[in-house]
Each structure stands twice: as structure tokens, then as C-alpha cells.
Amino acid sequence: MASQNNYDAIVIGGGHNGLVAAAYLARAGKKVLVLERRHLVGGSTVTEEIYPGFKYSVLSYVVSLLRPEIIRELDLAAHGLELLPLESTVTPLPNGDYLARWADHDQTRRELYRHSPKDAEAYDEFGTLMYHLAFAIKPILAMVPPDPTSLNPGDLRSLVKLGNHFRGLGEEKLYSLIKLMTMSSADYLDEWFETEALKATMSASGVIGTFLGPRSPGTAYVLLHHYMGEIDGAFRAWGFAKGGTGGVSEAIASAARRFGAEIRTESTVARVIVENGRAAGVVLENGDDIRASVVVSGVDPKRTFLDLIEPGELPGEFVHAIRRFRIRGSSGKVNLALDELPELACLPGRGPHLRGAISISPSIEYLERAYDDAKYGGFSRHPFMDIIIPSMIDPDMAPPGKHVMSIFVQYAPYELDGGWNDARREEFGDAVIDTLSEYMPNLKDIILHRQVLTPWDMEREFGLTEGNIFHGELSLHQLFFMRPAAPWSDYRTPVRDFYQCGSGTHPGGGISGASGRLAARTMLEDM
């Protein structure tokens, strides 16, 4: 049994947050080892050539909120990160029409005007308000959550600062923010707009990755995410990474290596070594044990605390809190290799819309019914889909003239009635293709290969508990100082020298890297 004892920090899981944490630790001069179970780094942020010549962004497919400070501080551009524009969203409608939002403001306004002059007008005002609210929220995403029940000066200072920050917003914005945090996206958007497809497509972004429908309270605040990118300005926090999302992981890994971090793939951690209440290293599945001063886990809270740590090492109350942490997976992914370009019935031809997102979200009711299916343990017969054709943005994703298509699908519950198996997976894939064919008549004829991922697959292949892409649902009581469980939201854990840095911590969700960065900061403070 080999024992190595020369690391300052071990990072469990080479997902993008683990890599970010590793890069920051290494940048501070620490000797860092990243252990990844799979043969490549990236976790859910990977590009793989599943079918020869065709590259799939297997799971996550757009760069949503990659923190500009990470791009800057790790100099990711120098490590090959290139973000390409993904600016339009087209929603095909059952009546043969469509609703589009383009990169160009005037063009969007004109298009909305076509559906409702009032909405075209409200859209600008809404955008201004969201801009302000995104601005208000930004510092929170970049802060380590304080413990509101604590009386220690640090937390209190942080709380007072937070209080003043919010009061500084002024009445209108403060109340708008509270409404946004508590309302359903459908209700919130009803206050502004009348065009069904507009409300549905906007609220679809509020339900991505959650087990909630657009009428469920708590879905409105994710509307902000779309505007977060805007205040990050030229950094283009919203886009498509050249080479697929794996390009992001590669760039971060390259930066981490440059700072001296060591990354080992095909190294599965079996458990964390805890000695005298302190983490002292990890044991690999092959029996190797590797020692380090601190250990940080980038995998989800359930796996981290219920699998990797001996149950006796954690307080019962904390284990209880982690057990009830909600992590229901709700989405699936279908990747297609296509012989030629698909055609939208509502917008035939090779238009600019094929370089943006195509959203199957014709109405709130459509989304809500898709959710209803899943609520009772079925997958949506007519699901919400967010589609991009990466090869239209980056031609290197497929052989010349051929294409890849990435289809994010919701809802597909982890707890499927009767359970998932290979046959149910293909049935789910068929429902997706059938629905999409209603809008893309030539689709079925041009499919060369299809990869279907259900929450069950995501758990088995990517280690996402219950297939939840955010490492835990983004519901109100699982956010900020309650993520993953109060008071352990500051990246520390009840075990000394053991930390968490995955999406299951604040702020969580999406390819942002914020959790990894904040965790590294906390660890460096303690070290």
C-alpha cells in the first residue's frame, strides 16, 4: 500500500469547480493534487467524441455565468478559452409562426412588436430593471455566505454590510428583488408581458435544472441569470466555448497545471481519511492512500458527506440536513450527429437563427404540462427543449457539412415510475425526437447517431447524485447560507481540514466556477 504524504491539498473531482479551486490553490503556491475518476477532466463540463468525427458537449452545453474574475485571474484566454457568441433565441410556435429574440436590440424590439407592441415596450423596461437587480445580486454571488444566526463580529459585519447594500438599492429595486426571489416566473412575467411564447421562453430559463414548473414560486429569480452576463460586459459570460464546454475545463486545467497543480485521471477516491476529527488525505479505490494537509471535495454534497466520509465522523444533525437536501434530477440530454443541417418549418433555410438557441417552449401551459408529467413520475411526453447546433458556431465540432445538435430536455425525473432502464431511455429519446420533428420535419431523416442521457445515466456516468445537474436543487431554502446546509455554507465542513467546492455550495449551478474560487479563498485563509 503506497502512501504519499507530500501534498498541501487534494481536490476530489476534476469538474470545473474542482479545477478552479486547484488552480487558485496552486497559484498561491500550494502543492495540489486533483483526483478525477474518469479518463478526462471536466466532470459535467466535457466534450467527447462519442461518434467518430462528431464532438458532443455531452452534458452542459453553454457557458452561462463563468465569472469574469476567473477568466482574468487565471488568464484563461491564454490557456485557450475562446467564447463564441450565442445571441439569438428562436421559439417555434405550433401555428407555424415563431418568436425570436436577436442580438440586435432594434431587431428584437421589432420582432416583439410584431407579437405585441406593449410587450416590445415592456421588454426594455424589464431589461433595465433586471440590469439593476443583476447588479445588486452580483456582490452576493461573490461573497462567502455569512451565518445569520451567528453573533460573531465577522458574520455580523457581513450581515450589516448586506443589509446596507440592500437598503441602498432604493425602494423600487429592493421590492422588485424580493418579489423576484419569491414569485413564480409565470406570475412575475405576467406582470410585464402578454405574449405567451415570450413568457414561456423566458421562464424556461427559470426552470432549467429545477424540479419545478414555471408556475412554481421560487422560479422567478433565475430570470436574472440571463442579465448577469450583460453586466459582465465584454467578458461575454454567456456563450459557446470553442471546442465545446470541454474547452472551458481544458483551459482551467491548463492554468492549474501551469501553476504547478498535478492532475490524475482514472483515480477514484473511495473515502476521505479522517484522523482525530481532521481530514488527512484520501484512500483511492485501488487501495492507495494519499496524504495531504487539507482535502476539498468538488463532488455533490450527498456523495461528499454520505459516501466519502465515515458516518461516525459527522454530527448526526448535519447528516440529517444533508440527507434531506433536495437533489432530484429533472432533466435529460440528447446529442445528435446529423448528416446535414436541420430545417425549422417556421424559418426554413440556413438562417442566422441556427447559430443561436432554439427553444421549444411555445407557452406557459406547455411547460407546465411537461412538468405535470414529471411530477407524477413520468418523463414529459412533450418536453421543454433548449437546443443548439454547436457545429454552426464552431465548424470543428463535426466533419465538414455535417452537424451536431445538443438538446437539453426537461422534464425527466430521476425517480421514474417503474425505474429507468435501457428501453425506457430510448423511449424517452423517441419522445424528444418525435416532439422536435413537429418543428423540424427533416430531423428523423438526417440522424446518424443519437446519444440519450437520463438522470439515471448522469448519476452513473458523471457521478451526479440523482442526476441533478446543479448538485442540489436551487430552491429558496437551499440557497446562500442554507446551501448545502446551515451553517456549513462557508465551504468548511464539520470535519476540520475538509472543505467543499462544488455546485452544491453557494452560489452553485451552471459553469460559473464561483464555488471553486470562493472555496479556495476560504481554504487559503485557513491555511
Binding site: T149, S150, L174, I178, S184, P217, E368, S475, L476
Partner: protein, 529 residues
């Protein structure tokens, strides 16, 4: 004829009467104007069939604010008798089993144990947590919501007191309670219990009157809201006013009058008169104009600001906020005159004294909501039925009974058709058919039925969109957001115009709390002058 008052109150509902009494008590000249022939608003007992009296709209008494009870006792010697039903709830299941929630926790645990042993054990700690949380809410309910932006010294003090109270809970409980506020009642109950019938029956209090299913965030809050001031040891409580809920309204009317307030019925107000941005009185439907130093509306905020006030007096932003208040009434009433007591396939007649709850599971409630979500009435609705004549024979002829059923969901906004007689019949049939699955003789013993759709609740009782709470009790419409953000302190953008109804903090229910709080704020302003 001198028609000048210190205060006019529009609407003699229970909150309006509470405010009227408290203002009149200080010597103010108060006039309460009621549109209907009887006072009480939605708290009325009516004869639906010769000899059969039923609480037409609201059929449960909540926990009246202790201050209102002591006012009643002081003025009238005795407050109306509140019957604490035992068992509070009888919930039958289609397989013949049933759940009984008694006032005595041990008896309740025994009933639960027949369904699930672990649930029986968890009931006690659950009640403890819920009671702590409700206690914290009650403290917040007694206060006027602070203005978040300009927290004055007195606000700060009350916030500190509230914070102190929260801290006394201890770190762990404080986190737990905080967590509850935004949860769904399904999440909450799933964490504690496994039995569907139990979860459905507890979860029902989280959706009652709401256009939400039990899977909506904020429904756990509603469960707590419904516990405020109620029996602290029980899983659920059912209170009723002996003689019908109208007795309570009459008592509150007597109280107001004994304090010197004047009450006029059949006196609908059509407009609040405003001069230079100040309310100066009201105009009645018959054209009479009555002036007063201040006008206090017990009507819901939308009716108040968009019908009684000329919106031109308000800023477009405020009007927009008022228009955005969600009402969306979700329930209807079916009131029955019965020839005999319905016989249920399980349980005993003695179990029927409280609420008969048709809530076999949370999924059942959610499915009922699914229909409504798309604008249809629930095929299999959630039902909350009471048979008050069991304990109060004065309500029906000897041996006969009245049954009052709250039917949910009945959306105000129907996707197809309108709330005409045939839709109402359909609703009643759904309700009766559903109930008849548990009480097979029901259909044969009905002598008369009265159906009140959300539309009827609006026309008959002035409840906008038939919402029984004067505005949805969702997280975004509570505390300092109720009725609209920035105007949660009973005052309005029109000087000398106040609100005192359930559309204000702390919202709906038979509590008198909004009226009580409003009176306190109004008196502060009176003193200041």
C-alpha cells in the same frame, strides 16, 4: 343635518368592526357603512332552507386576536362561545380506513399509529417545531411591518424584539423555522411523515384558499399561518362559533356600537371623495355625501383603489402595483340542508363534529390543483366539510342537519365557459359525488343545496375575484409586501385614507388582526395631529 365624522369605515366586516370599535373607544365619532343588509362581511349565517341555517361563506372561526376577545368581554360581559371541535378533523380514506386528529395529542398519535408507527412518533416533534414557528409569526403579526428603507427608532425596537424572540428559539430552531418559510408543504411533510392520508390532511391547511398546490413554495408558510393562535399541542384545530359565525359578527357590531360607533347597513359606498390628495369622505350609492376626517377601507385593496378611489389620484406605478396584486379565488362553497346525518363508511357519527377532510394524499391535492391551473374546476376536489348542526341543534330542525363544504379548486378565471348555473351545478356534483364515495347515502338525503362560486363570493360579499383572503397569501404578498410593497403600514398614498381589511398584514382568516393593527396606526396619526 350634520354628517361629519372623525372616521368613516367602508365595510362592516369583522376587521372593519374591530377598527370601528377601537377608534370609537377613544371617543372618535365613527361611522361604519355596510353595503349588505347584514354586517359581518363574509362571516354570516344564513337560512338556506326553512329552518336550516349555515355559515354561508366562511365556516370556521380562526383565533381572534386576544385584544379583540378582551374588548368583547369587557364591553359585552361575555364573548361569543368558540367551540373547539374534538376531534378537530376526521379524514376518511377510500379503503375504509380513516385518520382522526384530536385535541389530545395522545389520542391523535393513536389514530396515526394505525396508519404509520413512525409518523405517530414524529407527530410530537413536528407539532413542537410548527408551534415555535407559529409563535414567531404571531409576534410578527402583532406588529406593523417595518418600512425596510427608513427603519425608524420604533420600528427598529420592534425588529430587535422580534429578532430577540427569534434568537430565543436557539440557533438550530431559528434556522429550521427560517427554512420552513419558503418551503413547499410537500417538502416539509415529506421530511417528517410517510403516510399519504396524514400528509394530505396536514398539507390541506397549506393550500386552503390558495390558488396553489401543495408543491408550491410558500405553502409551508400557509400551514404555519393557519396555526397562529390555535391550540399549540394539536396537529390541527377546528374552531366554530356556537350559533353560527354570524353570532361573532353581531357581537363585534354590538361591541362597536357600545363604544359609540354608528353602523349603517344597506349603505353602499361608491366613491371616496378626495380633495388635494386627501380623503375627505365618501359618496353613497344614493348620492349622499358624508364627510369625515379620515376614511378607512375594509374593502380589499383592488376594489378600494381602482373602484372607490379615482385612479387619477394615484401614481401610475402605484396603480400598476395594485393591478398586479394576485387574487385568483380558488374555492367555492356548497351548502347543504340534509334530511339526516350522512353515514360514512368508516368512523362513527361522533367523529363528524369537526372538519371532514377529503385529502387522501398530497398528490390528490396536487391533481385537484392541476385542473385549476389550466382553468378547469377540479374533477376530484379537495373538500373541507363541516356539519355544525351536530353540536348545535339550533341550526337545523330536529334530527336534520346542515353541511357546509368548502370546495377547492374552483378557479375564478375559467378557461372554458363562465360561472353560470350549469358550471355551478357541475361543481356541486363533483363535490357531492366525491364526498359520496365516503358517505354513500349523501346524495339521497339532500333537501336543498346552495352553491357559491368564486364569482358569487365576489358579487355577494365583495371579495375581488372571490379570494377569501382579500389577496393571495403568497410569499410575495405578505408582511411588508402586503397589500403592495412600500404600503404595508395601513396608510395609503392618499392622505387620511387607510386600509384595515385582510388585504393588509397579517392577512386573511378570522383573526381581527389587520383591523386591530390598523386602528393602532390610525390612532398614532390622530395623536400626531
Amino acid at each position: 343635518m350634520s354628517q361629519r365624522y372623525d372616521a368613516i369605515i367602508i365595510g362592516a366586516g369583522h376587521n372593519g368592526l374591530t377598527t370601528a370599535a377601537r377608534l370609537a373607544k377613544t371617543g372618535m365619532r365613527v361611522l361604519a357603512l355596510e353595503r349588505r343588509e347584514t354586517i359581518g362581511g363574509a362571516l354570516v349565517t344564513e337560512e338556506i332552507h326553512p329552518g336550516f341555517k349555515v355559515d354561508a361563506a366562511c365556516h370556521q372561526a380562526g383565533a381572534l386576536h386576544p385584544g379583540v376577545i378582551s374588548d368583547l368581554e369587557q364591553a359585552l360581559g361575555v364573548a361569543p362561545e368558540i367551540v373547539r371541535c374534538d376531534p378537530a378533523v376526521f379524514a376518511p380514506q377510500i379503503d375504509g380506513r380513516h385518520l382522526l386528529l384530536w385535541r389530545d395529542p395522545a389520542a391523535t398519535a393513536e389514530s396515526i399509529a394505525a396508519l404509520s408507527r413512525s409518523d405517530a412518533e414524529n407527530a410530537k416533534p413536528f407539532v413542537e417545531l410548527a408551534t415555535k414557528a407559529a409563535g414567531l409569526l404571531e409576534a410578527a403579526y402583532d406588529q406593523t411591518p417595518p418600512d425596510l428603507l427608513s427603519v425608524g427608532a420604533s420600528d427598529l425596537w420592534s425588529l430587535v424584539r422580534l429578532g430577540g424572540r427569534a434568537r430565543r428559539l436557539g440557533k438550530r430552531d431559528m434556522m429550521e423555522v427560517g427554512r420552513l418559510l419558503t418551503m413547499t408543504v410537500t417538502e416539509l411533510l415529506d421530511e417528517w411523515f410517510e403516510n399519504d392520508l396524514l400528509k394530505g390532511t396536514l398539507g390541506a391547511t397549506g393550500i386552503s384558499g390558495m390558488f396553489q398546490g401543495p408543491m408550491a413554495a410558500g405553502t409551508a408558510y400557509m400551514l404555519l399561518h393557519n396555526r397562529v393562535g390555535m391550540d399549540s399541542g394539536a396537529l390541527r384545530s377546528t374552531y366554530r362559533v356556537h350559533g353560527g359565525i354570524g353570532v361573532l359578527s353581531r357581537a363585534l357590531g354590538d361591541l362597536a356600537q357600545s363604544c359609540g360607533a354608528e353602523i349603517r347597513t344597506s349603505a353602499p359606498v361608491v366613491r371616496v371623495t378626495i380633495r388635494n390628495g386627501r380623503a375627505t369622505g365618501v359618496v353613497l350609492e344614493n348620492g349622499d355625501e358624508i364627510t369625515a376626517d379620515r376614511v378607512i377601507s375594509n374593502a380589499d385593496p383592488r376594489h378600494t383603489f381602482l373602484s372607490l378611489v379615482d385612479p387619477v389620484e394615484l401614481t401610475p406605478r402605484f396603480v400598476r402595483q395594485v393591478r398586479n396584486i394576485k387574487y385568483r379565488g380558488a374555492c367555492a362553497k356548497v351548502n347543504l340542508a340534509l334530511d339526516t346525518l350522512p353515514s360514512f363508511t368508516s368512523g362513527e357519527a361522533a367523529h363528524l363534529g369537526g372538519v371532514v377532510s377529503i385529502s387522501p394524499s398530497l398528490a390528490y391535492l396536487e391533481r385537484a390543483y392541476d385542473d385549476a391551473k389550466y382553468g378547469d374546476i377540479s374533477q376530484e376536489p379537495y373538500l373541507e366539510a363541516v356539519i355544525p348542526s351536530i353540536s348545535d341543534p339550533s341550526l337545523a330542525p330536529h334530527g336534520k342537519h346542515v353541511m357546509s363544504i368548502l370546495v377547492q379548486y374552483a378557479p375564478y378565471h375559467l378557461k372554458r365557459g363562465a360561472w353560470d348555473q350549469s358550471t355551478k351545478d357541475q361543481l356541486a356534483e363533483h363535490a357531492i359525488k366525491t364526498l359520496a364515495q365516503y358517505a354513500p347515502n349523501l346524495e339521497q338525503i339532500i333537501l336543498e343545496r346552495q352553491v357559491l362560486s368564486p364569482r358569487d363570493l365576489e358579487t355577494d360579499f365583495g371579495l375581488t375575484e372571490g379570494n377569501i383572503y382579500h389577496g393571495e397569501m403568497t410569499l410575495d404578498q405578505l408582511f411588508f409586501m402586503r397589500p403592495v410593497p412600500g404600503w404595508a403600514r395601513y396608510r395609503t398614498p392618499i392622505e387620511n385614507l387607510y386600509l384595515c381589511g385582510a388585504g393588509t398584514h397579517p392577512g386573511g382568516g378570522v383573526t381581527g388582526r389587520p383591523g386591530y393593527n390598523a386602528a393602532r396606526e390610525i390612532l398614532k396619526d390622530v395623536k400626531r395631529r
